[in-house]
């Protein structure tokens, strides 16, 4: 992760500044910002009319309407607030697989999304999880905080089994504002990838799923008599890898991806799958935009 900053060259960062993260829903923000909020407030954009009641700011009375209708009508404006963005980065041991490793790829994506969010004055929470919450960066706002994000992502401890359910449950049960939850993971969870995502859905977050895979697990170059060792729990299995077995594995992997995609489709969650050898900049600048995650 030491190379994160250097990889984000100036030109790339400049391009990121023109992007902003989209959310399908409106969430109540905490501070004034550039994003539409549910609340009506003091923004510039006209939103609606309503009957004046005592206590309203009479500066927003529509006097022309009063002259015409002889009624006090209040003009409402949209409030522009910040968006809470939660970046959940899977740092379990399985994410260290691949070349480059999935966790490195996830860190870079998270850093890029953070930068976009911070540039748009959104409140960005970065959460590293595996079997539990491994690290949490306090909400950041303003792109000047990007270096804290880099530092956090760089120093977060990697390892352990994946237990998204417990991690998300622990995180969400604390008082949190609803927002956009971005989950970056390979979704190798023995309890099932659904269990963790169900928690986030339960807390009514808008969600975006980034499924990271490595080329080695999509198309493994294995052959012969092997002992396969699970990188997370060290469970080993003797296996004779034959072409037919390899074909079965690929079939199973495709089914696994389809399950995740179907889940996301069912609950209208944004979903993008990528492999670690896919160019990172292309993912951020093109794929995310085509997937209506960034604009």
């Amino acid at each position: 992760m030491a190379t994160t900053v250097s990889l984000f060259n100036d030109e790339f960062l400049k391009k990121l500044e023109y992007l902003s993260i989209l959310s399908k829903r409106l969430f109540a923000g905490q501070f004034r910002a550039e994003r539409r909020a549910k609340r009506r407030g003091t923004g510039l954009e006209f939103a609606d009319y309503r009957q004046y009641v005592a206590g309203d700011d009479f500066r927003h009375l529509d006097w022309k309407a009063y002259l015409r209708l002889n009624r006090l009508i209040l003009r409402l404006f949209e409030e522009e607030e910040d968006l809470p963005i939660y970046l959940f980065v899977d740092v379990s041991q399985s994410m260290t697989y691949g070349n480059p490793t999935k966790v490195d790829y996830a860190r870079r994506v998270a850093a890029a999304l953070c930068y976009i969010g911070l540039s748009n004055l959104d409140r960005v929470h970065v959460v590293a999880y595996a079997d539990k919450i491994r690290g949490e960066l306090a909400p950041q706002r303003g792109k000047g905080r990007i270096f804290r994000v880099f530092k956090f992502l760089e120093e977060v401890a990697v390892g352990g089994e994946t237990n998204a359910r417990e991690s998300f449950k622990f995180y969400c049960t604390e008082t949190r504002r609803r927002g956009l939850a971005v989950v970056i993971s390979d979704f190798f969870d023995t309890a099932g990838f659904q269990s963790g995502l169900d928690i986030l859905r339960h807390f009514k977050h808008d969600m975006f799923i980034l499924h990271i895979a490595s080329h080695e697990e999509v198309d493994p170059a294995l052959k012969g008599e092997l002992v396969l060792i699970d990188s997370e729990n060290n469970v080993s299995r003797e296996v004779t890898v034959t072409p037919s077995l390899l074909a079965s594995y690929k079939e199973e992997y495709t089914r696994f991806c389809t399950e995740i995609e179907s889940y996301c489709s069912k609950y209208q969650l944004g979903y993008v799958r990528t492999v670690t050898d896919f160019p990172f900049e292309e993912l951020v600048l093109k794929v995310f935009r085509q997937g209506r995650f960034l604009k």
Binding site: M95, F188, I229, S231, E232, E252, Y253
Partner: protein, 441 residues
């Protein structure tokens, strides 16, 4: 089943050791390569599914070790050289007879002789047989009859020792252990063979003109004259021209061009009156002849002179008259008192007389009371002996009949180391001969 390389016990030990080593190696086999994967979640699913549904997966290890042991045992058994008698026909005793008659020297269309084909066929037969089967190899000339053996090298050597030869063909006797009889022949010489004999034919038609008879005989019409009787036969299927040459001692020769149709015989006597005594050779020179061995024939022309014979007798008018009448004998008759050894004579006839020393030339002694150190001692006298049997095939007895010969008396002698030419019915020798001239016993 038996093993050729080891005993049954050794084979069992070998099998046990092999199986043990393979099983041990199977369990001590190289550890599988360890490969870390991100998660065994998906691998686990497919492996569990396969193991749950596949009988093969359950039995794979067992089948694998059984296969390894079986392959190892097969290799070990191959080293032990097993032989299944029911499969290979092992334990057979084969009498392999090769026809060694001269016709086997005939060349076939491929340039080889029938004999070479016969040898090849015999060796093929031996090589194709079960290793434990035994072969007794014999020829029809009676020259080779090797003991039964399973040693292939010995069998092949016995076959290589054989060669075609001119001899009276005879099929070897079959012993009790013989289970199979093979006779490799060209079938030219008719030879009675046992019923169960399997013939292997190496016959192939060949162009051949050969001498079938060559004999020298005296001419009845002239004294001391001889002629050669010759027969030539064309065995081929086409007409042949051949040059016949008869040569004798010196430069005498007869040349004749013969034109023989297919299957035609030529027979003619040739006058040898101008030939000197000695060996006479008849040869044929034929283009494309397949069998050279019957293109040459030999005979012996007797020397044309009377036999100078010294007759020592006290007076035997019958004998003297007989010898004077024989045109081939020039007798000199003397009394016993006049006898002196004289090597210039060709033969001696001693009638009732035995000199102190054996005569220097072949001699015929007649008498019953002959006493000399070089003669067998008589042990008695046989009165009026009668001839019971005589050796008709002995050269000295050829054309001699003793049916009407009467003898007054004869000495009883022991025929030790002498050839009995005639004897009484009670086996008392009456005519004896010694094969060592001048050294009778």
């Amino acid at each position: 089943m038996s093993f050729l390389a080891v005993t049954g016990f050794q084979a069992a030990i070998l099998a046990l050791i092999t199986a043990g080593v393979i099983v041990a190696l199977y369990f001590l086999r190289l550890r599988h390569r360890r490969v870390f994967v991100a998660s065994s979640l998906l691998w686990g699913r497919i492996l569990d599914e396969q193991q749950a549904h596949s009988l093969w997966e359950k039995l794979r290890r067992l089948v694998s070790i059984i296969l390894a042991v079986v392959i190892g045992l097969l290799i070990a058994m191959a080293v032990a050289r097993p032989e299944a008698h029911w499969l290979t026909g092992g334990g057979e005793h084969t009498l392999l007879v090769l026809d060694t008659s001269p016709s086997m020297l005939a060349r076939t269309s491929d340039g080889q002789t029938r004999w070479q084909h016969a040898v090849d066929a015999a060796i093929r037969l031996v090589n194709a047989s079960a290793p434990s089967s035994e072969f007794r190899v014999a020829d029809t000339a009676g020259r080779v009859d090797a003991a039964s053996t399973s040693d292939r090298r010995e069998v092949r050597e016995a076959i290589q020792r054989m060669k075609p030869t001119a001899a009276v063909p005879r099929f070897p006797d079959i012993d009790a252990v013989t289970t199979d009889v093979r006779f490799i022949t060209d079938g030219v010489v008719p030879l009675p063979v046992p019923k169960r004999t399997q013939r292997v034919s190496v016959f192939q038609e060949a162009e051949n003109v050969g001498i079938t008879a060559f004999e020298i005989r005296s001419t009845p019409s002239a004294e001391l004259a001889y002629e050669a009787y010759l027969e030539v036969h064309n065995y081929g299927k086409t007409a042949k021209s051949t040059t016949l040459t008869i040569t004798g001692v010196g430069s005498r020769r007869i040349d004749r061009e013969l034109n023989l149709k297919a299957g035609e015989d030529f027979s003619q006597p040739f006058d040898l009156s101008k030939f000197e005594g000695g060996p006479v050779r008849a040869t044929l020179k034929t283009t494309g002849d397949a069998l050279p061995v019957d293109d040459i024939a030999y005979a012996y022309l007797p020397v044309k002179q009377k036999t100078r014979t010294l007759v020592v007798t006290g007076g035997n008018s019958y004998l003297e008259t007989l010898l004077h009448l024989d045109s081939l004998v020039e007798p000199t008759i003397i009394k016993p008192a006049q006898y002196r050894p004289d090597p210039t004579f060709d033969a001696y006839i001693l009638d009732g007389f035995a000199p102190a020393e054996a005569p220097p030339r072949p001699s015929l002694l007649i008498g019953s009371d002959l006493n000399a150190g070089w003669l067998p001692k008589p042990s008695g006298v046989i009165s009026n002996p009668r001839f019971g049997s005589w050796a008709e095939d002995h050269p000295a007895m050829r054309y001699v009949s003793l049916h009407d010969v009467l003898v007054d008396k004869a000495s009883r002698v022991t025929a030790d180391k002498l050839t009995v030419l005639a004897e009484t019915p009670d086996k008392s020798p009456l005519i004896l001969a010694s094969d060592e001239p001048g050294k009778p016993r």
